[in-house]
């Protein structure tokens, strides 16, 4: 599933490492991290006290989530392929992963916000 997602935007890389070891791992890891971040925002902090619940706080969390999504893709791809520096394919891959992180985080926000006390209407 993840291979299809990434290759839809950046095409197939001749190095099979991406298909065999990078796409699925990075996609799954990104999914889990975004779910954890959203759960932290809505279900932990959002139910504890009204200290980190506003739209500005949500945007900050989203920016952190996107940075994680982008840097995770670069770092994982570099490790897996053994390249010393990131190439244009890796940047393209990181960009798509950033988009994936964005979708997951926004979707998880829509899902988890009902369980929150102080952030039920953040940001929607």
């Amino acid at each position: 599933m993840f291979t299809a997602l990434y290759e839809l935007f950046i095409g197939k890389n001749p190095d099979p490492t991406y298909r065999n070891a990078v796409f699925t791992s990075v996609g799954t890891l990104t999914l889990l991290i975004m779910l954890v971040l959203a759960a932290l925002f809505y279900l932990l902090l959002g139910r504890w006290r009204a200290v980190f619940h506003r739209t500005s706080h949500w945007i900050l969390t989203l920016v952190i989530a996107l940075i994680i999504g982008f840097s995770l893709a670069i770092s994982y791809a570099k490790d897996a392929t053994g390249e010393p520096s990131a190439d244009s394919y890796m940047y393209g891959f990181a960009g798509v992963n950033l988009l994936w992180a964005l979708i997951v985080f926004v979707g998880a926000s829509a899902l988890f916000r009902r369980g929150s006390v102080y952030a039920r209407h953040t940001p929607f």
């Binding site: 006290r49 009204a50 200290v51 039920r120 209407h121 953040t122």
Partner: protein, 492 residues
Amino acid sequence: MKLFLFAIGGTGARVLRSLTMLLASGAKTPADLTIVPILLDMDMQNGDTARALDGVELYRTIRNSAYPNGKAPDTRAFFAAPMQSLGTLQSDGAQERIGDSFLPQLTEHQGTFETFLNVSTMDDIDRELLKTLYDNSARPTSAELKLDLSVGFKGNPNIGSVVFNALEDAPLYRYFVGAFNNDTDRIFIISSIFGGTGSSGFPQLVKLLQDPSQKTPIRNARKGAVTVMPYFALDENSQSAIDQNRFNSKTKAALSYYQSQIHLDSLYYIGDKPGAKLYANVEGGAKQTNNAHVVEMLAAEAVLDFANRSAGEFAGKTYYEYGLRRDDRNLNLVHFADATYQNVLLSLVRFSYASKFYVDYIPANLRESFAKSLNLPQQLGTGTYYVALTKFMGDLYRRWLAEMADNDRRFDPFNFATDFNGLVREKQIETKTFMGFGDKGITDSFLLNQAGDIEPKLMAPYPQPEARLMHLLMAVADRCTEKLGDLNRQLV
């Protein structure tokens, strides 16, 4: 139980205004109480009456939306007791509708006392007799027979009693008789003893209610009255028909009459030595807007005291007077008896927190989840219920308190200009902080946490935002009151 509450004249209206505030604040009432206020006044444009009507109408609007099923959750809820106008009740045999107003028309007559009596059609001998009874001097407006009745009786009960003598045939009274059918219903009358309308209307109304030909439920009903004796002084105004030098003599004369002629279950008397603040000597009309006075608030408490008494507590004609714990000119919560403190003043404390939360805190925090969940960003400034609540809590209630604070005696228990911690003047909520951490009392974050915690829990039982908001206000006010803790009851 319905309490038919006759509020006669300007003082009646001012006491009704205070009563509306007490009921809004959740002062103690019986669970099944419905109040039917009936304002009796010839002066339909009176400023005090208009303000009382404004309060009652807003009360009704707010209550209808806050409790859509008609029932308040408990007797200490804000706006708990329904207020219903006489015209909305079913009336047996009434041939004329009297409209939905709390101020039904007393008489269709408009003009001077002279025209009311049809003097021009009288025989000469009757006319001469009349001249011996009433001042008919050349003064064009203040001579008794020349008084314009559309602004009331201007402190002349000898005129009012003639007009009220026709009350029995007035559509409003016939409607009241038709609507009074339940043995548990009660009647209460608010009037002053030193003015014109109240002092003449009260004995006439009691005479009617006591009449042996009156229908059984009315004759058997528990009846009470609060008679307000002089408690303010007026500016000197030689142009005015109201003569304050006659206040005490009129009171004495009326009291001796009441002693033998007024037979009610409970008679409450209240008055005060007039303070240094003089009221404008206005004969009536829209300009008569006297500042609220603590005597009026205590007279309103008499209404609640009467309503709260169980049927078994009435043991013949009983007189009540009100006494403060200490005769100070500046009053605070501690000056009042325990019953007043428990039944009335603690409710005002709670309502004041709610007022500050709704009027000051919420508009500045519309982005918060609880506010969005209640649709407040869209509704606060436009929805009928929300605008009415803002007007009542922010304008009417606070103005009423401010007027009492500006009067003499002065009653000034709340300071809305400061933060929540200093709202109750008698006790500043102490903060216990160390390097910015610890208990800061009632702060914005405290209120946000409370509202955020409470509002979601109210969603299931109160799906309508209007009802949920009212319950939220009560719950937040409760948390604030808990934070305030007990108040000192020792006079120092």
